[in-house]
Symmetry: none
Subunit: 225 residues, 2 copies
DNA sequence: GTTTGTTTTGACAAATCAAATAAGATTAAT
DNA sequence: ATTAATCTTATTTGATTTGTCAAAACAAAC
């Protein structure tokens, strides 16, 4: 899963940095903007997965930014979370009407922020409702269920094995070197020896047979076309 | 969508008129009742989409009206918003227990009233999409009665256990991680340790047997297909 | 046929995870 | 007010998963 991008728009530089630090720690990619205009531009350019938007800003306030985003067909579906000084009824109502997805009141608790963001993102891509079943050869690799099916045989692979298989199968035919596999399946800032991949490949082969994953000597592995 | 009907029950005639005026302006159909008895009768007759209910009324108070509505199978689903003189904690708590969907404190801000009403109706529509009785395997999971049936065995699960089971069963086959389960069953802004889910799963398994909910190690839980 | 670089294999150690308890906290019921 | 039920947290335990290492096997190149 590639990193999700969050755009943070706030005129307080300190807060911007703090939020950036925390979001990055959680594995998000972070874009910053110091005012409404910058925010809109950044949104247009990068199409972030979510926008954190301060309501009180000089010149163009959060509500107006939200308004503009909602009327831009390219941006209207991007979820928005408002940051607001304290629970101010009027703006809160106005914001909800304008299509905010959540509100967070300053001062901001980090854990709360993170979990709200994740909740909104989750809610959002649940609506996308994409089927996550790969059918390759005689296998059905079902990421919703974390199950591999062959006919009516059912294989329950442990998480890492499953994810490795899923990744390779999703790039079927293409070779991936060990480091790439580690980055994609294990994550970017995780350090494990790259031979670990071999071991997992072996376990997959033990369970499903060795006619799915091919070795490309000196390069890496590939899911058979 | 045809006009939605709102029943307003309050003993102050002035307030009744004011609210009626504002709701009509928003495109709602409005019914008025000046006391609890009238309120109940109007509800029975017209099946409104939502009831605005004053708590403080001579004779039959709002809480009692709510109570009666909740015990009438024809009316129990109708969302209720209480109107209360000022934020009086005790009645607020009592009201929430009785199944109020929201509270609005007098004096009433019109915009607030409208936006709360819309929020409750929106929330309610979403819930309507859910089937009230799920039949899976040999189980009937009845959300109306918060009861699980297997043959003529009857299981009374406590609320959280029931809701967890219901949610998992409604997504049968699909794995959900603990955080998602917490957000869906406990709520988005509630913070409890995710291992709490484990304990509830265990209790469900104790009661119904462990052939319904499957563990997917490292990922989460899944209702067996 | 040997060398060299590489993957596979087997054995094992470390880390992780969930089930099972127990006990504290909160809430409902009497 | 007391008791009971439910919900939440913390801790222990056992099992599985994950990761490492090194020897064996293999394949291509010389």
């Amino acid at each position: 899963m590639s990193k999700q991008t969050i755009l943070v728009v706030d005129d307080e530089q300190d807060l911007l940095d703090l939020i950036e630090y925390n979001l990055k720690k959680e594995g998000f990619k972070v874009l910053k903007a110091e005012n409404g205009e910058q925010g809109i531009m950044a949104a247009r350019e990068h199409k972030p997965n979510l926008v954190l938007l301060d309501i009180m800003m000089p010149k163009m306030g959060g509500i107006e930014v939200c308004d503009q985003m909602r009327s831009d067909p390219e941006l209207k579906h991007i979820p928005i979370i408002f940051l607001t000084a304290r629970s101010d009824e009027r703006t809160e109502i106005e914001g909800l009407d304008k299509g905010a997805d959540d509100f967070i009141t300053k001062p901001i608790s980090t854990t709360k922020l993170i979990s709200r963001i994740k909740a909104v993102l989750r809610r959002f891509d649940e609506n996308q409702e994409q089927v996550q079943v790969l059918e390759v050869h005689d296998l059905k690799i079902d990421k919703d269920r974390y199950i591999v099916l062959r006919g009516n045989e059912e294989f329950q692979l442990p998480r890492k094995e499953f994810e490795l298989l899923y990744y390779l199968a999703s790039k079927r035919g293409k070779v991936r070197d060990r480091q790439t596999l580690l980055n994609k399946v294990w994550g970017d800032n995780i350090y494990v020896v790259d031979r670990t991949v071999d071991v997992h490949v072996r376990k997959i082969r033990e369970k499903l047979g060795d006619h799915y994953i091919e070795t490309v000597k000196g390069v890496g592995y590939r899911f058979k076309e």
